[in-house]
Amino acid sequence: MGVAELEFDLDVFSGPFDLLLTLVLREEVDLRELSLAEVVVGYIDHLETRGELDLEATTEFIVLIAALLELKSRLLLPGEEIDELLELEPNEAAEELLARMLEARRYRLAATHLGELLAAAPAVRYREAPLPLELRRADLDDAPAGVWDPAGLGKAIAGLLVRPPQLDLSHVLVARVSVSERISHLRQLLRQAVELSFDDVVSGADRMTVAVTVFALLELYKRGELSWDQAEPFGEITVRAMSRPSAGTRA
């Protein structure tokens, strides 16, 4: 069964996924009110009932849900930040999204064609043996002198020294708060309490600070300093200290 026929029973919609997509695109279902987490959970339930992973359907689902997430995140951002985040007019954004969907479709179908070619190729095998030693060995005496220009080596090293241009992210993110700042904030709070509610950590903070705090949370999780629990989507997030830096080694 493809992703399209997958049935959902959500707060704002019940029916197959392809209909949901159509309605979202026609704005008959408000994406802002649609719980994408519910859609994902529904899909995971569906996977569990089936007991097997259909990679193709899953890939399709991930691409679609990613497109929905991107659309939704654009919708949810306050008006002035849209300009800062993406200097795209709504119709430009739609064109871009359209182009991307069509391009992805082209190569998905090309891949299907390649799969058919592979299946239809004759059952022959090719030899993959190394050359016999006497032909492989390059002899110092036989080697032609000066066939290659040493400048090529210098250029190659110079090329490796070049740092690619730093992506200019200034238009994307106006840094009002930094991850490291949020990390120290979290560490400080975790020194005072073993367990925290994420809502308390970010109470009164603006949207950007909340987002950056999530990054800080991920970073500290990666470093093994904390873990968290969330019983259900949109439920409360409980942050827990894993190992407190001991007072002796780290002040």
């Binding site: 695109l25 008006g79 891949a111 064609h113 690619p164």
Partner: protein, 194 residues
Amino acid sequence: MSSELARTLEALLFLSSDPLSAEELAEATGAGDLDIAGALAELQQTFAPGARGLLLREVAGGYTLASDPLAEDAARALLGRTRHSALTPAQLETLAIVAYLQPVSRPEIARIRGVNAESPVATLLDRSLISESGRSEFGAVLYTTTSLFLKVFDLRSLEDLPDPSQWDATADEAGELRDRLLAAGEHRAGTTLE
């Protein structure tokens, strides 16, 4: 008993891991084009299907020897692996993008697929279906398909791949999708959020 030139060509085809064109064979042996054509015709006959355990195949821009499908079961038993275990949809999609857009970088593949391409690229490299070919202006490694790719997919050249535009949505389909997206966009633009 084959002619000396046909015997030499047979040995060269046996040694080379890449298919060899008539020009390459002529250059290596110093023989004229006509003689090469004659010797190749001789080999075509020697390796006619059903005659021997090997076949002379024209693939990937040249001639190459391959095992007869007759030996496939025994070869699998001996070498302990399938000819080319089926590629996953992600690997095929990545391969399709490389085949059509080469040379192409991993970030570009990821952009088109909408998901990270690290793992399929690594597998395709590992199986020698794609290889590195220089760097983009931003320093990302570029990839192209290999002659093994052509061999495995039984293609004479990349030109044998069909024009990918045949898979594009029709103008009507694309137009309809565009209208929907634009309607959504206009609606959004008119909405004051919070």
